[in-house]
Symmetry: D4
Subunit: 231 residues, 8 copies
């Protein structure tokens, strides 16, 4: 077996072999890490020519870190940091639609969209087309029916992925959100709803896991040689 490269930063073991093995380099989950640890990780990745992408970055972390890295950009909605490699143009292969049920689901959708951007996958954002206004979704059908994969973001009853799944032939990655109150149980209601979807093409990720949904959808879209571009 080939030798795997790891960067030993004591409190973190950077997996430098991941791009070869999995197609994309490691993404840095910032929650629970100190500014110093993040600084050390970002620098090491940049030294390895990695296009740095970091999720769950708090405003405080972002304020401390972005000035230290040229080209670093913080998206306060998605709470992500991106430090692109110099002189690079992202290639656009594949197309993913990101659809939200309500206005409050935006932060999770933005995390998915930033992930797709970083992967070089095209995306479109279709917002606030939840099931209670049943005409809103079909009216936008032309915007997502040709997608290679679809990310559907929904809180409360989490019904939207099942409906989207019934309209299309591509895989649907459903993201439950913690939007709602009371018996939403912090997103568990939407999660269970999506797991029990009667649409056969729906899979599910963790509550509020915009990154993972975007990543899997991007993997699916990226494999497709004839991506259906957004018209």
């Amino acid at each position: 077996m080939s030798v795997e490269r790891t960067a030993d930063l004591t409190e973190a073991q950077l997996d430098l072999d991941r791009q070869r093995r999995c197609g994309y380099p490691e993404v840095v989950y910032a929650a629970g890490k100190s500014i110093d640890t993040l600084d050390k990780i970002y620098r090491r990745l940049i030294a390895e020519q990695v296009d740095v992408f970091s999720t769950r970055v708090s405003p405080e972390q972002a304020e401390a870190l972005t000035p230290r890295f040229a080209g670093a950009r913080y998206n306060p909605a998605s709470r992500t940091i991106r430090i692109p490699r110099a002189g690079e143009e992202p290639k656009r292969a594949g197309f993913v639609a990101v659809i939200t049920a309500g206005t409050s689901d935006l932060p999770v959708a933005e995390e998915a969209r930033e992930t797709l951007d970083w992967m070089g996958v095209g995306s479109a954002l279709i917002q606030d087309v939840g099931v209670a206004g049943p005409h809103r979704l079909p009216a936008r059908l032309h915007e997502f029916v040709h997608a290679d994969a679809i990310v559907v973001v929904a809180g409360m009853e989490g019904a939207l992925p099942s409906v989207v799944g019934g309209y299309v032939g591509c895989p649907v990655v459903a993201v439950p959100t913690s939007v709602g109150y009371g018996a939403n149980l912090g997103g568990v209601a939407a999660l269970l709803s999506m797991l029990n979807s009667c649409a056969a093409n729906v899979t599910v990720v963790n509550i509020d896991a915009g990154f993972k949904a975007g990543y899997v959808a991007g993997l699916i879209a990226n494999r497709t040689p004839n991506p259906h571009p957004r018209q």
Copy 2:
């Protein structure tokens, strides 16, 4: 305050005043009662000129009881017994649509429909129009849009009530069913989904509670002086 009438059968206290107070006589929940107790209760109600209606009657209970009462009819799908008063024609006031997401939800829907029959409320049954086939529901819209109230019966992700709720102006009574497996948690997934419905006109009853859904929908429809008959 008026004197309430109660029939003391030792193990059961029949509330003979209920029709005056609540508009309908007591319905007999058969689960966990012996044949003897049910026999005693049915006889007493018949003696009081009550149109007997009994739910959750097992096939074994039905087999023992129906031969003992003239005109008794057992519906094996809804598991209900009905013993109508002699010479009576049920009046038909109001109209309720009973809609199911899937074929397996039928027993619960039938319990609701039998309840509406007993209440003298008209009803229509629209089956298997769950959200994964998104065109099935709108195609039937003309059959339920004029209803006074709608009962929606769904298992699995329990998304249908929210969609129905978005099409109509009348109250929607949602009944989660235990249909499904795994993370449906015996119907809890559908229950939570319905409680978190983003449609404002949706209320919820217990899992598999077809009787209660039919009863409440019937109360709503019955109050309406100009019921919209099924065309």
Copy 3:
């Protein structure tokens, strides 16, 4: 099928067809929306001649928004904003009693009451008549026995809707609240209690969902041609 009108505000898709379809215009759920988004939505609705009603408005949101709209009124108990159409007198059709088990349930009851006001449905508030003082409820019977529908708001053991349901013939919409501690599990105890109510006329909405309870009760009451006015 008729053409549905939607106002595309990018992060929100206003359903301008709802009044035609569902009888009432869209209500604006403020939680998780920015001041700017709410401002944009309110203005568009006013331009459409809509009597604006907004729920779950925080004091901070209210302080920023109410000065911008003539006639806007914030109820800090119910946390709702109302911006009535100019020159309009609300019609009063139907009558709903709103009953609370304890003093701490008031905010949820107020949300229900404001909703009924906005719908043009008459209402009465009967407070602190929970089951541990068993004589308090019957003493107020004359105030709610003629209602078209009743909203019962209760936390802790959530027993009141079952008791109210036994006194009346109209539908009872039960609202569990998060009032209590420990094994109340944030309102889940009261929710389960209400879902298992042995009273046949009780349906349930989400924990603390005062708006939805008021809305459904209002729909029921409003259909009634001979509303029983509060004497």
Copy 4:
């Protein structure tokens, strides 16, 4: 400290000191024990002059065991075996009312009643007075208002103990039952309801724990020198 007496039967350690320490001898929980083990335990207790009482005895266990012991009596409703000491007349001290919400709660109530009998405490059984028929309970008030303690047995929403608690000054021991379906979660709904009771005099035991409820109520009643006899 005094020396405690224990009978070592290998798979069971009989606590022969319990009567001295706790006022009553050990009760034999039969579930999960073999016929042989039960036979051995009963014989040893009889040899110690103990009035044997055994709970959760299945019909199969009872059929095998009762013929072996003179005077043994099996109650199939409560699923208890009693083998009284020869020549003894049970003394009657104190009075406990056992109240059920519905007919199906009887087996649990019977277990409580048999326990009280064995303890020599007087009892009365008041059945089927649940809250949905609000007039049934006050009509029986004279039968339980003078009790030393009250056992209230209820499934479904478990509301009855709170109501009973509001009428009396004595302790109320609430027993949730598994009667119901769906969101009753096997009795958890009633259990949570009772734990959150707003009546200050209500304590709770395990689901279907008729023996424990009867035992605690009996302890309370038995301490009372002037028991209020049932008139």
Copy 5:
């Protein structure tokens, strides 16, 4: 039936008949009530010659209220306010031991003890004798073996009530606390443990419900004509 007296304070309905019916006047649960409402309630009760007792009083509520009432005393550990009637000496009838498993359980135990004081029942506090130090409890046996009732307060695994129950013949009221972390689930672990106690004399109240435990224990002790005083 006798006429029940109620004081209508709009947002609160004071049950002035409770002392006659239940033996003690109403206790004022302060959580979720405004200073004004509490002020109004306290004054009305004082006018009725009631010895005022109020639980779950926050330090902020206490700071505002205690200066307004002569003789008012706030216990910051138990978070209770007491405003005794002038010139009155509390009678001491009965004796209750209050036992805690750990030092952090003290606030709940203090709430129980203040309740017993207000009821005129003698009490002793035995602290930090949890099961992991198995010799600590038997060493204190002489302090609680003669009690009329025992309150046991425990968090974490909640094992202490079972052990105490095995030593005594009187009823044990177990109070689970939210002390602990992780899989204690906010006190649910201790609650379940106590509900499943193999000791026959253990009943349970809600998590952190010191008041209710003290109240029930006080009711039991108070009925006893020959209280066993603390030596």
Copy 6:
């Protein structure tokens, strides 16, 4: 919008438009359907030239149905029925590896494999390579590293998908199974484990949902023009 074709069989509404819309015809979920209903559905699909595939077919259902349809084949492990179109050779596009953690996970894996067969997607089954024998998985790496998608089936702690995800660049569809006992909570433990996977390419379906996992993996693999065939 195009006209959707539906076959109205009263208790079932067959979505004949699904192949056009979603790429594959409807699959027949047999649980809870009568023999008659299934017979009716199969016949109608065959008349529409559909390659019939039916899941969750009990042995009793299979015994009644398979003799009625020429070429029908029942797989007792996967509990699926397949009735291929006459004269048709399944095309093989794409390649999916189906990996199980333990021997008892086979039935769920077989359901996935039968689904892939029906979709015309190549597959390989790699069994019993769970994490407790850490060398078993890497030893089989060459069998799955080139897959277009991977289905991982695991009960108990459900750890295998995370480990597989770390080795490959394609999407991993994780299926929790109900294999295990006690704190596996019927598969919920494995489900939660998979939802919290730290591997970015893992999505999840319902407990025991072999069909859905196979279907989504098949959709992903099928889109790939250069499938990596199993060597």
Copy 7:
């Protein structure tokens, strides 16, 4: 790294390297495996000179398998099969006490004891010394105080491990059992209790996991060069 040996039986991958790596060969979990698969596995292990040990063997499996293997012994209490190597005398190193709270916990304790036997570790079984009879445990102290490790098996409130933990200095492995009813939630109550144990030397295994508890205790005891033999 050394080459690991695996026996590929298609549906099972036998880890023949485990003895070298982990100290003991693979144990065969029989639940969910066919007679044929078990037969194949047993034969292969015997061919490898392994002392076969198999858990969760149903009576039906045992009846089919034991006659096929010379020296095979089935313990119906522990539901284990043992096929010792010919001519071998088990060495006895280390000593583990297995303690049960109640008589019904025996099957789980027996599974632990059989495991220790197979490992060549001495053990003693101390039964029915649960906390409600507080004198039973200390009376047996001399039988377990010198153990190298202790397995404590308890259902219901699961309090015994904490008490045992307070008496000894060795590790205590706690096994919750599903013994009990109602709020024991199938053993979850005892599990939570044990996880929250205030005794520092208590760790926990899955509900009813007698094998794992015995195995870990055996590993601890076996490492000890000076085992404390049972006197």
Copy 8:
């Protein structure tokens, strides 16, 4: 039986006999204790010649307490205080590896490591070797394969203990952490995963219970006369 020594500090009962009985003196759990109480306890233990160790010490508690005790040292990562006995050199017997899945699990691992230090047991910390980077753990195998016991700390899916368990023959103590979000349910997902581990040598402690894991691992390692030192 020998006389146990207890120091009665009223709100705390110090178990001065524990070192004799359990091998180590009492550890002081600081959460929920006042500065005064902690001061009193620390002083008393120092007077008894105890090497003081205190866990769950908040920064505020530490700031107040450390200046008062010579030699006191606060570790802000582990939140522990240590006040070693003067002139003492900790003996090093046994060796425990502490392994974390991710960088954010460090605080819990540090609590385990400080505990081992206090027990005089050698330890090594191996960080960030979770399963998603499958090569990281085997690369460190030489650092932990000779350990007497291993503590594995992991949040999210909690899969690492099973993998570690498969590589070694010593006991593995698994600590779930609350690291993660959404369906991690505050650490419950990782806890369930670990309880269901298919590795036979894995036991589990409470969520975030670094102290207990370190303590049990230390007990195991310490008993070993021939500790395998870290090379």
